[in-house]
Structures are given as C-alpha cells and as structure tokens.
Amino acid sequence: MTTAQTDWFDTPVQPAAEDVMYVDVDGYEGPLDLLLDLARRQKVDLAAISILALAEQYLAFIETVREKRIEVAADYLVMAAWLTYLKSRLMVPQAPSDDEPSGEMLAAMLQFRLKRLEAMRRAASQLMNRPRLGFQVYARGMPEPIEVNRSSLWEASLYDLLKAYAGQRERGISTDYSPIQRTVWSLQDARDILQRLIGDSFDWIPMDLYLAEYLASPSERATIRASSFASSLELVRQGQIDIRQTETFGPLFMRRRKGDQQ
C-alpha cells in the first residue's frame, strides 16, 4: 500500500496514540472521515478491521469531545447513534423473526463505505499525480489563433427604408393635430331618447323611423343604432316595450308594452 507518490491530502497531523481522544473534531470532513482516520490507526487493511472496535473508538471519541463541552455537529451525533445501534445489533444475536438487517450486514455496509471513500481519495491522489497539463505537460505556448474576418451583410428592405423616412417626416410636423371628436351615444342617452320617442305609442313603429332625425348624420349613424338597440333590449327586459323583427335584417319595430302598467 505504500506508494512513492506524495499523498495529496493534507491528512490531519497524526497524534500519538494517547492523544487520540483529544483530537479536535474540526479537523475532519464529516463522521465518515473521522471513522476512516480511526480505522487507519488500527494499521490493518480495512477488510480485516473490527467494525465493533471501530464503533467503540468512535463513540469514546465523541464522548470525550462532548465532555470537553465542545459543540459537536449533528452529523457526528447521528453517526454515533447509528453506531450504538450497530453495536447492539452485533452483540445481541438476531431473533429468527427479526427482518431488520443483521448486525453483520450493517457492519459490512459501513466497511464498504469506508473502503469506497478511501478508494476515492486514493483515486484523487493518483489523478493529481498524473502528468497534468500546465505542470508536466504543456500546450503550444504561442498558439496562432484563427483570425476570423467578420463582415456584416446588412438587411433592410425598401419598405423599411420608406417607412423610416415617412415616420421621420411626420414626426417633424408640428403637432397641431387634434383627434377627430366622435359623437358617441351613451346607453343612458339612447335609452332616454328612445323612451321619450316611443312615449305611449302602442303601434309598431320601426326604430329607424323614431331615430330618423338623428340618423341623418352619417358619421353618427352607427353609434346611434348600436346604442339604441342595446338600450331597447334593456327596456324589453324591464317590461317597458316590445320589439319585433319580421325577417332577417328587416326593420326593428317597437311599441310600448300593453299591460298592467296603467
């Protein structure tokens, strides 16, 4: 296992055996790292390690640290609890009815994880000791970059050009432009007018006839018709008038509704 390679990892300073219990937990990268370090001190192959002894060492370590009233990160306590459980599983023979994993299985799992972590560390170390680019191996020091001469082809259509021109000329015109005021009949106005015109007439008279006076102005025709029609529907709903149309697109006849009103 001893290799000539330098160990790339700054392994925590190995304290003398009797000092082991006083190592600060801060030096470790988590509980697995601590376990691995403790295991290494047993100076045997991880495959031959006593997981029970390792668990006891870990628990003792955590105990000492806590006695010294040093805060221990939760990770370490979770591992401690798990190891306590592992210990109990290892020491108490498994009942046949017990379908929890056996102590041996749990121990094997932990051993596997330790071996895997150690393997990954060794792999990292081997990677870093390879002839790396920029350290032992070099790329061309004076690369000759590919020169790209980029020329732009501009896109514009005659339409774009004319629009741009017209837009500017219009922008330049002094803005005494005022929007055309459109007369709009509000629904309320239309309703008032309609009520007034229909009055008490019980005869069917076409709506356009009622509105003839107003419809004379072409620019207002549409709004008058639309608003009046909408208002007439409201009046029908309120039971004030009746509406009738005898054919599609035919004239709309209106009259005051007869009935209980009087």
């Binding site: 700054d10 697995l32 591992m79 071996k115 895997r116 972590l117 393997a119 790396r132 191996v137 070099y138």
Partner: protein, 217 residues
C-alpha cells in the same frame, strides 16, 4: 507508380495541414473540425493515426483527448519543462474528493456524492469544479426532485492527460472490487463511469436550466 506518388503527395499535404492546425491551436480539435479544412471524403482518422505515430518519439506528441486531438509536450520531459509556478490555488480536499467521485461514478448527483463522502457538499465545491471547467451539468435524473447529474468534461481529460474515461487510474481495480457500485458488491451489477450523451434515467437540461436543485437552495 505515378498514381501512388500522387496519392502520397496528397496525403503528405493533408498531414501538413493537420500539423499546422493542431500546432496553431492550444485547445484540442475534433476530427470533424479538422475535416472542414481538408475536404469531403478525406479519412481524417487514418491521417491522425499516421501523424500520431510520426510524433510518437518526438519531444511533442499528438494525443487524443476524448474525441479530440492536440499536440502536447512529451510526458517524460515534464521534469525538464516544469516551471516554477505553483498551482494558484490548490484544490481543497473536499473539491478533490468530489472531483474523483464524479469522475469515477458519473453521472452522479449531489446526493450521491454526499453519500460517498458521508458529509454535505457545499455548493461552492461544485461551483469551483465547474469554474475550473472540469465538470459539467449533464442532465437531470428521472427520480423525485429531479436532481442535476454531473459528469466530467473534455477539459478534464486534457488536464489530467487521459485519452478517455477508461484511462482513469485504478479503474479496473475499483471495478473489480465493486467499489464503484452504490451498494454492497456481491451480486450487484457494477456501473462504469459513463460519459455518453445521456443515460436512460437522465433527462436533458432545459436551455434555461440553471442547475438549481429543486430540493436544495
């Protein structure tokens, strides 16, 4: 005979073009990139093999990195060329471990890295390796939370002088001992580092995916 001469002349010209292009670039170039300078139907692979052989004993070698090629100084001259410069910032132990776990287990998620290390991985560690250009986000694992999967890059191969992931040191031994598996070895199938496009259980990253794990900050 004139025919063969002519053929040799054309090949020689192609080899010169490859030399020029590969010498000029400090980054590895793919056969396809090179092909655009040679013309349709030229067998770049054969030319590259010839060139590699020609330079095999020289002070500068033609090396393959993933599916790309580059000229690099010969490994055995490293001791001579070694410059005084130190690594600007040596990688932390956490970063190194994370890198090797990703390299040997890829595609791997953050949770898997943490499982191997037995400790939470700071976001900074992954970021640092991404910034170094050695790892990349590959996709998302098709499991709850859809965690991001990480893999190594071509720059990783280039930096560590590997032709492909199968050159990772000690890979066979690790494979044999079942240490690349997530679980206890015996009857388990042992996965190999995978740098293909996407594995069955991986989804591609969306273009706007920033790689934030849904269940993590």
């Amino acid at each position: 005979m004139t025919d063969r001469d002519e053929h040799g002349e054309v090949a020689e010209r192609h080899l010169r073009i490859l030399e020029a292009l590969l010498f000029a670039s400090s980054e590895p170039l793919s056969a396809n990139q090179l092909l655009t300078y040679l013309g349709e139907g030229v067998r770049v692979g054969d030319l590259l093999a010839t060139l590699q052989q020609r330079y095999a004993d020289r002070g500068v070698n033609l090396v393959q990195r993933g599916d790309k090629w580059a000229f690099r100084t010969a490994e055995d001259l490293g001791f001579l060329l070694r410059r005084e410069e130190q690594e600007t910032r040596p990688l932390s132990r956490a970063a190194l471990e994370t890198l090797s776990i990703i390299a040997y287990h890829q595609p791997s998620t953050r949770a898997e890295i943490e499982e191997v290390r037995g400790v939470a991985t700071g976001k900074g560690t992954i970021d640092l390796l991404m910034e170094a250009g050695w790892i990349r986000m590959r996709g998302r694992r098709r499991t709850p939370g859809r965690p991001v999967t990480y893999g190594t890059t071509e720059a990783f191969l280039d930096h560590f002088g590997l032709e492909s992931l199968s050159d990772l040191p000690g890979l066979d031994e690790l494979k044999g001992s079942g240490l690349l598996s997530g679980r206890l070895p015996p009857d388990m199938q042992i996965p190999l580092p995978f740098d293909g496009a996407l594995r069955d259980d991986e989804d591609p990253l969306e273009p706007d995916d920033l790689g934030t794990d849904e269940d993590q900050d």
